[in-house]
């Protein structure tokens, strides 16, 4: 199990380690003869460059970390693939960490990212503010933040504010003012932003409940609303999983959707078009958001761009289906 090193290859090929290194890196010309010979010897010996040693020396790991709430929420795998697909071709690998929407986990993962000396971080968190990501950029780590607004680090936005306003106005004009919001976890930046946009588009008094961004959370939220003093005519859910849960409850109580109560979601995950009634929602271009994040990172990591923080908006848009 003694691993073959560059020295072994060099010795066997009758050249210096330097030359072997250059044969593989291509960072300096090597005569065709020696190049072929070295390659051959390397294969023969089963040599595989030790990326760890290389990283220690070059200070680059060719690794990016994606920090996200939960890989199991269908929005994120698609987003992650967007990131991976744009980085893969440049030789980057991706570490994926789940925070389960907890602040401590978000911070722990950022620590890990620093410690592991990743070249970049795509951050999709709920708690850590963009300002806190500056420790990364200060350490020379490229950062792309999936967030709600422009900030001190490169940001990718889905234009929540606009999209939420649009949907809210649509619901209000179609179903009247008795619209409620099932929002994400209290005090998180996303939830805050969506609530603000909601209230701005539908001024007045509205029932609002906060739940985890899960189907189960949607069930709880919907029950709270229906059992509350002001059962709503329409419910806007801050993501599709919440909306699926809301539909579960409507079904279980024999309520017609949208006849008795209308339901709208956010994200347009695949299930949105599959569920019965199909879900009116806001299409979040998750893959493209991932691609944009990857591109932002790539620009920084290659050194191609080195200026102020940039912002890319991949605008989300309404999709009217049956549920509202």
């Amino acid at each position: 199990m003694a691993r073959i090193t560059i020295e072994d290859v060099a010795a066997r090929a009758g050249v210096s380690p330097t030359t072997v290194s250059h044969v593989f890196s291509g960072r300096r010309p090597v005569s065709e003869a020696t190049r072929d010979h070295v390659r051959q010897v390397a294969v023969q010996l089963g040599y595989r460059a030790n990326a760890v040693a290389s990283s220690l020396r070059t200070q680059r790991t060719n690794t990016v970390m994606i920090v996200l709430p939960d890989l199991t929420n269908p929005f994120y795998p698609v987003f992650a693939r967007g990131v991976q697909d744009t980085l893969r071709t440049s030789g980057y690998h991706t570490l994926i960490g789940n925070t389960d929407s907890r602040e401590a986990e978000e911070r722990a993962l950022l620590e890990d990212a620093m410690s592991r000396r990743v070249d970049g971080v795509v951050f999709a968190g709920f708690w850590v503010a963009p300002d806190d990501l500056l420790v990364l950029t200060d350490a020379g780590v490229a950062v792309a933040n999936l967030g709600q607004g422009t900030g001190p680090v490169d940001s990718v936005l889905s234009g929540d504010i606009v999209a939420v306003s649009e949907m809210t106005s649509y619901l209000a004009s179609t179903y009247g003012s008795e619209i409620a919001l099932i929002d994400g976890p209290e005090n998180t930046m996303v939830a805050q932003a969506r609530a603000d946009a909601f209230l701005r588009a539908a001024p007045g008094r509205h029932e609002m409940v906060s739940e985890e961004f899960t189907r189960e959370g949607g069930r709880r939220g919907m029950r709270r609303l229906l059992d509350g003093p002001y059962p709503p005519r329409a419910v806007f859910c801050a993501n599709d999983l919440l909306a699926l849960g809301a539909l579960d409850v409507a079904r279980e109580r024999g309520l017609d959707v949208p006849g008795d109560v209308a339901v709208a979601g956010y994200d347009d995950i695949e299930a949105a078009s599959l569920v019965q009634p199909s879900l009116t929602t806001v299409r979040n271009r998750s893959y493209d958001l991932g691609v944009a994040s990857g591109e932002l990172l790539l620009g920084r990591m290659t050194g191609e761009y080195d200026g102020d923080s940039r912002t890319v908006v991949v605008q989300a848009e309404m999709v009217i289906r049956e549920s509202a």
Copy 2:
């Protein structure tokens, strides 16, 4: 941006680098006084251990790679979380690589895994045979293979053969012998295994088509079957995405499911219970499969287990819903 090293901390704290190292690793007693002092200095200086250097020295990266076809297929994120959740607590991080069901990508990722000196690999591939994973174990890398049968490396099985037989028998007894199979990509191990089990449970002549494991693949497959010389009374799809595609085509042609044609899937992804009609399928305990893979790896990586290859079966079971 000059990174703080262990030497900086040692100098500032008036101790040796060794002591600093031991304060953090805990691998040798350090007096409480110095321990606290060192910790304090480290925080003050913003020291973060360089995991790359540590890995080079210890020959452990605390990293595991998960090789899977496509993170976007809902089966895999859940599986991946099973793996991640069982490894995270032991300090492991996970690299996730997509192969897009291509052999070349599978092999490339295995090369990367070797080169990056990951401690373990969870392999969910279609092409690379278990025997080819021995290069990893030979190099001291722990391996868990999500496969169809017992092999030379640790395996996690979902009991396809049994589950497919069961479902096939059910379809045959309910809808007669005109059952067809929409299978996965030709020549892949999964597809082969499922086809074998299918034919064994329903002897005779059956239409079988091979498609990519996607919803679009399901559409193509269903069209081929319906437009073929022997339109089937029931269609068994080798995964749920294929089945969703098959339902799309049935709907688009105005066929009643299961009245005109019955459809069954495999995996029981979330969408299976959401789609209309809800999908009869085989429930693959994806999360538990992930957990089992993680545990297998952990046993090897901690050195707790060092014997012959083991096999864990997380048996899949039928779920009868509306579509068949």
